[in-house]
């Protein structure tokens, strides 16, 4: 890959992201005017337009962008590590593992932070990591391959198991915890503020940077572990870094937004059609496209039944379900 076409391609994805960020705040059930929002004739507390724009829509959009970016990059990484393009946080059971972790923390009312990291996020990360390690060890053959059938079956099994655990905990919880759990499980970006956005950004960006740092090693692993090793890749080290980091960013956003399905499957696939499978460009392009995609889905979720808002997870699942079927069908034909 040469650096000129690299910069060109990423610029296009960046442009798409900027346009999404510019347009979506203006769309919503209540019409707002930019002129009034930015006018200084009104006191900020009385400026309804400014309040809707800056206090309601913008943090939600930023959270959506971060979540979309994180889930998409995690999807691209899981696909490369497992050498299977149907792998994604949702299909592998990683999202539901993260959900289980978070629900345990919610049920135990662990509403505090450790070293600045909310305990809910920490549990969510551990759940995600546990799920991926389970699937990885269950599916890997002696030759280091991950056959599609077994992989999906393991993912489904993990999903059922974690969902059952979540239900169990939910059943034992009292009314207010139960409400919190249900609300969170639906997956949504609606209850947010800048503080939340700021608290999860460092983890997401650090994670993506680490993955960029090992992106060429991951490319080689995606073509086969043994040949990667013969080209000087420390395979087990890179696998550890990849799984832990992708679980970390998945757990971080799932802890905040609940399990939002299919983003990590749809986005890397779509982006790969345009930029190819080289992770050096696939990671940043998936990050930008994933951010735009989830923000667009959430805008749809906010407006499609306005004034009622539906959880964004419903929109992504409605797009992702048919997409997944299409992928499976194409794989069968190949």
């Amino acid at each position: 890959m040469n650096s000129r076409s690299y910069v060109m391609t990423l610029s296009l994805f960046f442009l798409l992201f900027i346009i999404t960020l510019g347009v979506t705040p203006l769309i919503g059930s209540s019409k707002i005017s930019l002129a009034r929002a930015f006018s200084d004739s009104l006191d900020i507390s009385k400026n309804v337009d400014a309040n809707i724009l800056f206090q309601v829509r913008l943090p939600r959009i930023l959270l959506g962008a971060l979540t979309g970016a994180a889930l998409s990059v995690a999807g691209a990484i899981f696909q490369a590590l497992l050498r299977n393009d149907l792998a994604a946080p949702f299909t592998l059971g990683v999202s539901s593992g993260a959900a289980l972790g978070a629900v345990i923390a919610i049920a135990l009312s662990l509403n505090f932070s450790l070293l600045g990291i909310p305990v809910v996020s920490l549990f969510s990360f551990l759940g995600a990591l546990g799920a991926i390690l389970l699937v990885f060890s269950l599916v890997r053959t002696r030759h280091g391959e991950f056959p599609t059938g077994v992989l999906l079956l393991a993912g489904v099994t993990a999903n059922f198991f974690f969902a059952a655990m979540v239900m169990f905990i939910h059943y034992l919880s009292d009314f207010s915890q139960s409400f919190r759990i249900i609300r969170w499980l639906m997956g949504g970006l609606d209850i947010t503020d800048y503080k939340t956005v700021l608290s999860i950004s460092p983890m997401v960006f650090l994670g993506i940077f680490i993955l960029m740092f090992v992106s060429r090693d991951l490319n080689l692993i995606s073509t086969g572990v043994h040949s990667a090793s013969s080209r000087g890749v420390n395979v087990s080290k890179i696998q550890k870094i990849g799984f832990i980091t992708a679980s970390l960013i998945t757990g971080t956003v799932v802890a905040t937004c609940g399990p939002i399905g299919f983003v990590g499957l749809i986005v890397p696939h779509t982006v790969r059609l345009f930029v190819g499978p080289d992770l050096r460009i696939l990671i940043p392009a998936s990050m930008l496209f994933g951010a735009s995609f989830l923000v667009a889905c959430d805008t749809l979720a906010r407006t499609i039944l306005a004034p009622t808002e539906i959880p964004v997870g419903i929109i992504t699942a409605m797009i992702g379900g048919p997409f997944f079927v299409w992928l499976l069908k194409r794989k069968k034909q190949a």
Binding site: M212, S222, G232
Partner: protein
């Protein structure tokens, strides 16, 4: 006597509990062209992976240029020794040129792109292996013989002194078998490349290799020139089938004796 490039001493290896290699010792000289022969399951692939630093032996020592390979940085080792698997399942749509450029990995630092020198080395590797014409095609869309040549190009881009190939001709038709072996022979003579090939075709092995190593149940039973290794008694014993040998143009040909 040419200097030793690699030296294996008392190598043993087992997958879980079933032993694959037992107490195996061998020395590889510079510019050797070795055919590693033996029945299925005799340990050829495993031995190549151990030589390539992909698998670690359970006991024994391997030295490359007199230093133990466990002490050599993985990337540095990959600059000297490359390994090519038997088949090349590819999940993602990489282009041929991208696959060849991956051979430059041991020379690149993280977060960097290939330099014009890397592109030039890859271009030459594709020329040597006659793969330039499909540089822009998808790896998954070319034929088996073409894939094998692309993998050789990628291994060449590593600029190695030694190449290990696991049955490079196994899945190919006659024309491609000869083509691949000619490319390798040329690398061996013109570029002084040391080559070790796991092979099943004893006739091609005796024609192209200057040294054969016959493995049986994880042990070396013969090691020497094709004339020394390909003997009726030993082949019948190792392969458990009757064979006929004939000699033509200075090379030996082995046929399974099929008697009705």
């Amino acid at each position: 006597m040419t200097p030793e490039l690699m030296k294996l001493e008392n190598i043993s290896f087992a997958y879980e509990t079933s032993p694959v290699l037992e107490n195996l010792s061998v020395a590889i000289q510079e510019q050797d062209f070795i055919g590693l022969i033996g029945p299925n399951g005799s340990g050829k692939s495993t031995l190549l992976k151990i030589m390539g630093g992909i698998l670690e032996s359970d006991s024994g020592s391997i030295q490359f240029k007199e230093s133990p390979i466990s002490k050599i940085n993985k990337k540095l080792f990959a600059q000297s020794v490359s390994w090519i698997p038997q088949d090349h399942p590819m999940v993602f749509p990489f282009k041929v040129s991208e696959i060849v450029l991956m051979g430059r990995h041991p020379y690149l630092s993280p977060l960097s792109f290939e330099s014009s020198e890397d592109f030039e080395i890859s271009r030459r590797a594709m020329e040597t292996t006659m793969t330039s014409q499909f540089a822009d095609r998808y790896f998954n869309e070319i034929s088996g013989g073409e894939k094998q040549r692309v993998m050789i190009a990628s291994a060449l881009a590593q600029n190695p002194e030694m190449m290990l190939l696991d049955e490079p001709t196994a899945a190919l038709d006659l024309k491609y078998q000869v083509q691949i072996l000619k490319i390798l022979k040329d690398l061996n003579t013109a570029h002084k490349m040391t080559l070790i090939l796991a092979m099943h075709d004893l006739n091609l092995a005796s024609k192209f290799c200057n040294r054969l190593i016959l493995l049986d149940a994880g042990k070396i039973v013969r090691d020497g020139s094709p004339q020394q290794v390909l003997e009726k008694d030993i082949l019948e014993q190792v392969y458990d089938v009757e064979v006929d040998l004939d000699y033509k143009d200075g090379s030996i040909r082995v046929h399974p004796a099929i008697r009705n």
